[in-house]
Point group: C2
Chain length 429, copies 2
């Protein structure tokens, strides 16, 4: 066994970084045995050097991250800063100066994964980022390596713990969105500004990364259709229950039936209670993968948090260190198919639509005609009337999203339709 | 990209082998892109050469497996024969003649994994066997690589589809064991001789493999405590339901609380309906992994079948081929901890015990005294009497298995205890 240690530079020492440093210290012997050489924390770049960081030698701490990655003796850079810059520049500089990179940065990988992979390959380095999607859950490696001999047709997942916590609360307690969000904030599951989570930006970044890896193609962040979950109401959950469903914010990546294109999208959707994703509680994540030969797989676990994310980072660190020792690199970018990403309108799905309608004869016939005109077939209709108000709940068969949204637009223009109370896609059947 | 193809020898062309060959042909372009070089089926060793094998060039078929692995130009041997010999000799010979090996052979890996890993290492080859445990479910690779920076404390899984199908049937229809087994046989889920499945031999082999990888130690097949599920009755399911539980045949690998030893066992057990494993239906497999930093993870999917197993084999094939091209090897044996494997008596668990007792006063006091004498604390007792018969159902708190089984032995000796109707461990809480 080699005794000269591999040197690791840690960029960022917040919730995840401090946990990475802690495990590197407390489990040093295990890491040495698993890698085949010791690993040494050679430097820690932070913004606030005066903050006391338990277990970290103050002599290792620096505010000059660029100088750290340029040192030339660093074998692996662990980037847990997040955001686009300076993370991007630091990673690129690390590649140029001899280091491989482990990153937990979903935003950066989703936006610039292709360029970063190209830079890694140019310099013969590794770029690993298991922690960027679904925290501790092994997902990138299974997709990239375990399923490397299979053809993935669909990835359907709960990849944001904050929104799952909120939706689970609404489902189990009947709480409204704001009440559930307040509880998530109080418990630390939601950030002070929850926009990135509740509007689906976080999940969309993960969907872009997953779709790219699953389908061996390039999926940009802009290619991902995105709808947040702030408009989901207690009434929607009541409707879902009536259908034997619950509501989840899903990231869905699909290969078209003809195989010639792919889609990626994030939106709230009803899924049957019998679907394995329906029972994913609290802030847990779970991702369902359908592959041609493997069939249906599911990966479940904590999607965030310091220790779980550090677990994923350290798994990558061991792999990258092993590669370094073997003078090899792991599987890199694999976007060789260049499949086009189709717009949301071409996604084939089902709608659950609640309409407030005039309580008079002939309304259902009018509504049904609109569906027929758009080529959308109706699965079930439920009419309820009370206090002079009436409502219609329509669940469609599968149709292109463009036809479904065209139907809804036309419904809004009907005199007898007073309002569209909610529209929700139905998935996982 | 290299154009000289990597040569693959396929040993065995049954349900799994023929699927491996089929995918290698139909997805050749994808495999080439993912590996970085073409792969070519260079020979197929079979027992019955006259059988027509669709899609396989008859010129590749041979009955001389030894000559095939000795050819010297084979890069990877895929062993899907199963059983100990000739698989073991062929794999060893393959290593000696330049090939890495992908195997789906749980029995062989469980029995001789250490020696085979040593042979692989000695010759600088890879030995991969994702397909040996839980079919298509990525499990070996996540444990070995994704969790390489973490400390696994527990693996709890449904790793045999046949028995899960039978138990699920009994649970959902109230059928008895024999009736459910007959249905499993009729549907092809159980073999004509179901012993290996229902007696837990298959699951025990997988438990030995999983425990070894999870705890980085050596766990021999003989180290695994094993109880089959042929004695599980409809009455047990009724008892389980009353406790909010179901019954699964579980493979359980645990690190002792003090970290100084490990245990591995296979037996039927009650688990709460709220546990993710409780909802694993039909012949599906699922494995729950608890790691120090990652927390609770679950991996779910089809645990057997030609195509799912082939998916796992091909994932390994891609990895091994990539390693060959990079002149590297993947992670090998990692049994560096040499943790002892404790006997079943030291496992700490809970018992659910049904006793047929005399219907007279003082019985409960007698029974309770026996538990107390063995240091086993009682959680709940339920007494029922009808038609002069009485029964006592006792659920214990956690205690060493030796104390629990000692309690049961002593109970059998009580005059007032007419019989021990069933004993079942309670797990997953």
């Amino acid at each position: 066994m080699r005794t000269r240690p591999l040197k690791v530079a840690l960029l960022g020492c917040g919730v995840v970084g401090s946990e990475v440093a802690r495990i590197m210290t407390t489990h040093a012997d295990d890491l040495t045995a698993r890698i085949g050489a010791p690993v040494e924390l050679a430097g820690v770049a932070v913004r606030r050097p005066s903050k006391v960081r338990e277990g970290i030698d103050p002599a290792l701490v620096t505010t000059d991250a660029t100088a750290l990655v340029k040192r030339g003796d660093i074998d692996v850079v662990v980037e847990v800063i997040g955001g686009i810059e300076p993370a991007r520049a630091l990673i690129t500089t690390a590649f140029e100066h001899g280091a491989s990179v482990v990153s937990a940065n979903k935003a950066l990988i989703a936006q610039d994964g292709a360029a970063l992979h190209a830079a890694a390959e140019q310099h013969g380095r590794d770029l690993y980022y298991e922690a960027a999607v679904a925290g501790a859950i092994p997902l990138i490696r299974p997709l990239r390596e375990s399923l490397a001999g299979d053809k993935v047709n669909r990835v359907l997942g709960i990849v944001n713990g904050t929104t799952n916590f909120i939706l689970d609360k609404m489902d189990s307690t009947g709480a409204g969105y704001q009440e559930a969000l307040d509880e998530a904030t109080a418990l630390g599951y939601a950030e002070a500004d929850p926009t990135a989570d509740v509007e689906g930006f976080d999940a969309a970044a993960k969907a872009a990364i997953l779709a790219g890896i699953a389908f061996h193609t390039r999926v940009r962040l802009d290619d991902v259709y995105r709808e947040g979950m702030a408009e989901v109401t207690a009434a929607d959950f009541a409707s879902a229950k009536r259908m034997g469903c619950t509501i989840k914010l899903l990231a869905i990546c699909e290969r078209a039936a003809d195989g010639g294109s792919v889609t990626a999208r994030v939106h709230p959707a009803m899924i049957p209670l019998s679907h394995p994703l329906a029972s994913v509680r609290e802030a847990y994540n779970a991702v369902f993968v359908e592959a041609e030969a493997a069939g249906q797989l599911m990966f479940y676990g904590p999607g965030a948090g310091g220790a779980p994310t550090a677990s994923a980072v350290l798994g990558d660190l061991v792999a990258v260190c092993r590669n370094k020792l073997g003078e090899a690199t792991g599987p890199g970018d694999s976007a060789y198919t260049q499949l086009p990403v189709s717009p949301m309108g071409e996604v084939v799905t089902r709608y659950h639509i609640s309409l407030d309608v005039a309580d008079k004869p002939g309304v259902l016939a009018q509504v049904a005609t609109v569906f027929a005109e758009h080529g959308v077939s109706i699965d079930t209709v439920r009419q309820t009337g009370k206090d002079g108000e009436a409502s219609l709940v329509v669940v469609t068969h599968r149709a292109p999203d463009a036809a479904l949204s065209g139907t809804v637009e036309a419904l809004r223009r009907l005199d007898t339709v007073r309002g569209v109370a909610s529209i929700m896609r139905v998935e996982g059947e």
